[in-house]
Every structure is written in structure tokens, then in C-alpha cells.
Amino acid sequence: MTANNRPLSPHLQVYRLPLTGLISITHRITGVLLSIGLLLFVYLLFCIAAGESSYADMQALMASWFCRLVYWGFIFALFFHLCHGIRHLLWDIGETFAPETLNRYALYELIIAVVFTLIAFIIF
């Protein structure tokens, strides 16, 4: 097998993905976005380390509507990635491969991610 004849990942643009496919690519997209979001985590820690005035500046900046939107987007992406990540771990131990569970569990993941985000939003 030559280097340019190797198997490819599924094409995303060619056909309409089923729910499981959408969830799968969303897992990757949220993973990449969360990785970028780690910058926010570093920024928070850095501002705490930098002292009380930088901490106050950081809190003021994070209170803006744009930052709050990014923040809650991060939280939702986190819960989604967590839910589908657990699904992957279940698959890894050989469970829940039955075809009729696929769409149902995909739906559960989405619902749980949304509910957890709402709960976090209400508590915090």
C-alpha cells in the first residue's frame, strides 16, 4: 500500500451525516475548541498569580457579555465532550454497540450536556 493510497477519515462534506456521525465530529470539534479554551484557564490562573488588581481587571473583563458567551460555550462544550467521552469509554470496554442503542444514547448525551449546562448556569 503506497502512502497516498491509505484509508481516509470519513468525508464530512459529501453526504448528510446521521446523528451518530454528527455527535462524533462534534466530539472532535469540541475537543479542539476546548483545547483553545485552555488559554482562558491559563489566563485566569495567570491573573490570580499576578495579584489583586489584575484579578479585579480579569473579573471585569470576564463580566462582559462576549466573554460570558464564550465562557458558557466552553462549559457546554466541556459537558458535551465529557458525555461523549464517557460513551467512548463504554465502547472501549465493549459495551453499548447494539445498533438500536446508538441513536438513543446519542440523544441522551445531547440532553444530559444541555441539562448539566443549565444546572451549572442556575447554580453559578
Binding site: S9, G31, S35, F41, L44, L45, F46, A49, L89
Partner: protein
């Protein structure tokens, strides 16, 4: 002048040479990160809303310190492993792919270190 070999070595620190090792570490970090999510959420909540003294107090409590340090170390490693797979799947040029993986690893390593040093600074100085 920047030492090219040194940079490549640093970037290679997070690189797992075997596919089985990559698979295993990605799962291991995921399993440990799952419960630590709780600490992340509380930390984010404190950092964005609580007073400076309260946030410092929270981070300084031993269990929270341990959890946040563990989350930091594991999450940057988990992210590096994950982005590597994405790059392997979507960057078809082998040489470019390899460089992209090393570059992202280097970025994660640097930001992970900044985060860790910040935590240590908070604990020792603040």
C-alpha cells in the same frame, strides 16, 4: 539564536511513540479527568465571581490544590494527544503533519508550564 534541536526535543516530550501507548494514555487521562471536572467548575466559578481572598483560600486548601494541579497536568496532556489524532486525520502531507503535531505539542507544553508555574506562584507568594 534559538536552538532548533532543543525546541524539537521539548516538542517531542509529549509525543507518544507507540499507538497503543497513545490510546492508553488518552483513556487514562480521560478517566481521571472526569471526576476532576467538578473542581474545574468550582475553580472557574470562584475565579469569575469570588473575592480575591476567597479564591486564594479555595486554591490553598490541600485537596483543591491537588485537584487543580492534577487537572492542569492531565488536561494539557489529554489535549495534546487529542489534537495529534485530529492532525493525523486531516493533514495529509506527512512532513507538514509531523511539524504541526510538534508545534501544537510545544504550545501545550508551554501553556501547561505557565499554568503550573502560576499555581506554584499563587501557593508560595500570594
Amino acid at each position: 539564536m534559538v536552538n532548533k534541536v532543543l525546541i524539537e526535543k521539548a516538542a517531542g516530550v509529549l509525543l507518544v511513540k507507540s499507538a497503543v501507548g497513545h490510546w492508553r494514555y488518552q483513556r487514562l487521562t480521560a478517566v481521571v479527568l472526569t471526576p476532576l471536572t467538578l473542581w474545574l467548575l468550582v475553580f472557574l466559578h470562584k475565579a469569575l465571581n469570588a473575592s480575591y481572598a476567597e479564591t486564594l483560600g479555595w486554591i490553598s486548601s490541600p485537596v483543591n490544590t491537588l485537584a487543580i494541579i492534577a487537572w492542569t497536568v492531565l488536561v494539557f496532556y489529554h489535549a495534546a494527544l487529542g489534537v495529534q489524532v485530529v492532525l493525523e486525520d486531516y493533514v495529509s502531507n506527512i512532513e507538514l503533519r509531523h511539524k504541526a503535531i510538534l508545534a501544537t505539542n510545544l504550545v501545550f507544553l508551554i501553556f501547561g508550564l505557565v499554568a503550573l508555574l502560576s499555581i506554584i506562584f499563587i501557593l508560595l507568594v500570594r
